[in-house]
């Protein structure tokens, strides 16, 4: 079986909200100085899902695919250290500022070019834009089924079986391979690479493809081909001022809170 996991490099989300900044003129996030970009959390869970399938069937090949700047090589390396076999870095000035239709086009075209891919794993959403559509887009463009928001992924006899997370429960769905699955954090913690694996990862192959290698150009990837545009990006302002309860003892504070809530007719 050949599995492709799509991994996106994103600004580190684990920063205090006070250091989250936007350049409103450019409609872009400005990462705090010295904070390195990281793999999107759900994508690392996707790598874990693929590695669990490889644990079961060791002849499985896992390819990590990342579209982004040259620095996205780092997130590929991290995934290779988790045990994946090869990497594909999709990098080109034409790949900057794409919408989700174009992102899905680039990724699905690259997946086609790899040939013989049985399963594509994506995170349920990337932790920068939180849009959650790329997995479905890739599936549509490949004309494959997609099973979304999985917490457990199994493959047997050419059938993909996924336990999906619903708002109020779970459901098990199946589809024949080739297929796309998107995964959620309920799948469990991703494995942590060992030092030896990190060293091995440095030797694993990373193929680089540009737009021309995929037969794509400005007519598909240019601003004019966007189906969705970003008009504005901003930080919402909150004007709530917290009133802290006073009291010499916790009991007093608790009583004061109950009083305040009653005065405000909230209880």
């Amino acid at each position: 079986m050949h599995i492709v996991v799509c991994v996106k490099q994103v600004p580190d989300w684990d920063i205090p909200p006070s250091s989250f900044k936007i350049d409103e003129a450019l409609n872009q996030v400005v990462p705090p100085p010295g904070v390195a970009a990281v793999p999107s959390q759900f994508d690392t869970i996707g790598v874990e899902a693929a590695m669990r399938l490889k644990d079961e069937a060791p002849d499985t090949k896992v390819t990590i695919m990342s579209m982004g700047a040259e620095s996205a090589r780092d997130v590929i390396k991290h995934s290779l250290a988790m045990g994946a076999d090869e990497g594909v870095l999709l990098t080109d000035a034409l790949f900057e500022n794409l919408d989700w239709y174009q992102i899905s086009l680039v990724l699905s075209t690259a997946i086609k070019k790899l040939e013989g891919v049985d399963l594509v794993v994506c995170g349920r959403q990337a932790v920068d834009w939180d849009m959650g559509v790329a997995g479905s887009g890739i599936a549509e463009m490949l004309d494959w089924p997609a099973l979304t928001i999985g917490k457990q992924v199994k493959v047997s006899d050419g059938t993909l079986s996924v336990e999906r997370v619903l708002m109020d429960g779970f459901e098990t769905v199946e589809a024949p391979l080739p297929a796309v699955v998107t995964v959620s954090n309920e799948l469990g913690e991703p494995r942590y690479p060992k030092l030896q694996q990190i060293m091995q990862a440095a030797k694993k192959q990373v193929t680089i493809w540009a737009a021309a290698d995929l037969g794509l150009d400005d007519s598909q990837l240019g601003a004019g081909a966007r189906k969705l545009t970003l008009e504005k990006l901003y930080v919402p302002v909150s004007n709530v001022e917290c009133e802290f309860m006073e009291g010499d003892t916790p009991e007093e504070m608790a009583q004061n809170l109950a009083k305040k809530l009653a005065e405000a007719k909230l209880i």
Partner: protein, 326 residues
């Protein structure tokens, strides 16, 4: 103004879902004198057509078929393509629900257009729909516009006001045949297990008491449950707590959990990460109890107590019972 808007409705336990009613309200406002169409896809859904008309629909398109009794991406996509063609509306709204999350992107890509997921504000700019949506884990907001046609968006629960219900409103109901092509159905639903919450439903509750990782263990959720029952509230949790399996995922509040907008949200031992706030920032009043005075949750709170939960919760439950009793 939009000439017409198609709202993809949902029926839950025989009743029109609240999110559908909210979208009808939004569609009414956005379309002005235009046509609002409500699609009802499923089995036994036709009966909800009149409710959709009373809440603002001019036209209801029903695809009622036993094969659509439960959601399946492939069957629903087929039905949805027929509905979209019949309605031929330039704008299609889905709820940001289990169905909307899965189906809206599929429909958008199938129709070669774009989709704005999880909008919390909608406006028209000429004939273009502008959707405002939280992103970067709730730290930022983006305003997006779909340039393709039709323009598709999903709408977050509780973000839109209902239109006043008017049972004398008139509208048409059109039934279309599902005629599902089973040979194109690749996905099979094997089983579905529901978690039916006891008591008040989290997303509909007027008061929510949530607990976080700072509680230290599942056993300490007793105080959360006791305060909730004293207030007639629903119980919520942070993702940290659900990941640790102290509480079921169905109680998770936040970006990847439930969105709640109660009158009162009490967060106990929750740090207030942006991804958690994404699910509760629509609350009218937030109360935070946290031992760390610098915790982010206090930035959104109206009232706060800086103290160990173990010391304040029991007296708080007592004091609340007294206030309510007196």
């Amino acid at each position: 103004m939009a000439s017409s808007i198609l709202v993809v409705g949902e029926v839950e336990e025989g009743r029109l879902a609240t999110i559908t009613a909210e979208m009808l309200g939004a569609a009414r406002r956005l379309s002005g004198d235009g046509t609002v169409t409500c699609a009802l896809i499923g089995s036994g859904v036709e009966a909800s057509g009149q409710a959709a008309i009373a809440l603002g629909a001019d036209e209801v398109i029903v695809v009622d078929d036993a094969a659509l009794a439960e959601y399946n991406t492939d069957t629903y996509l087929q039905a949805m393509l027929k509905v979209a063609e019949q309605a031929s509306a330039p704008i299609i709204l889905f709820g940001q629900t289990d169905m909307g999350r899965d189906l809206a992107p599929r429909l958008a890509f199938r129709l070669d257009t774009g989709v704005i997921m999880d909008t919390i504000e909608l406006a028209m700019d000429g004939d273009r729909l502008q959707g405002t949506r939280p992103c970067y884990g709730g730290n930022a907001r983006a305003i997006n516009v779909v340039r393709g046609d039709p323009q598709i968006a999903t709408v977050r629960a509780k973000s839109q006001d209902l239109a006043a219900e008017d049972s004398s409103r008139q509208g048409t109901v059109t039934k279309i045949d599902a005629a599902i092509d089973q040979s194109a159905v690749r996905v099979k639903v094997i089983e579905r297990s529901g978690v039916s919450a006891e008591g008040v439903r989290l997303e509909d509750a007027d008061v929510v008491v949530s607990g976080g990782r700072g509680l230290g263990g599942p056993e300490n959720f007793d105080v959360i449950e006791d305060l909730a029952s004293a207030l007639g509230a629903a119980v919520g949790a942070s993702r940290a707590v659900c990941d640790l399996e102290w509480r079921p995922v169905s109680e998770q509040v936040g970006l990847t959990g439930k969105v709640v907008s109660p009158t009162l949200y009490i967060a106990v031992a929750i740090s207030g990460a942006s991804q958690h706030m994404a699910g509760c920032s629509g609350s009218k009043n937030i109360v935070a109890i946290n031992k760390d005075a610098d915790a982010n949750i206090f930035k959104a709170a109206r009232f706060g107590i800086v103290e160990d939960f173990a010391k304040v919760m029991t007296p708080l439950i007592e004091a609340v019972k007294q206030e309510k009793g007196g």
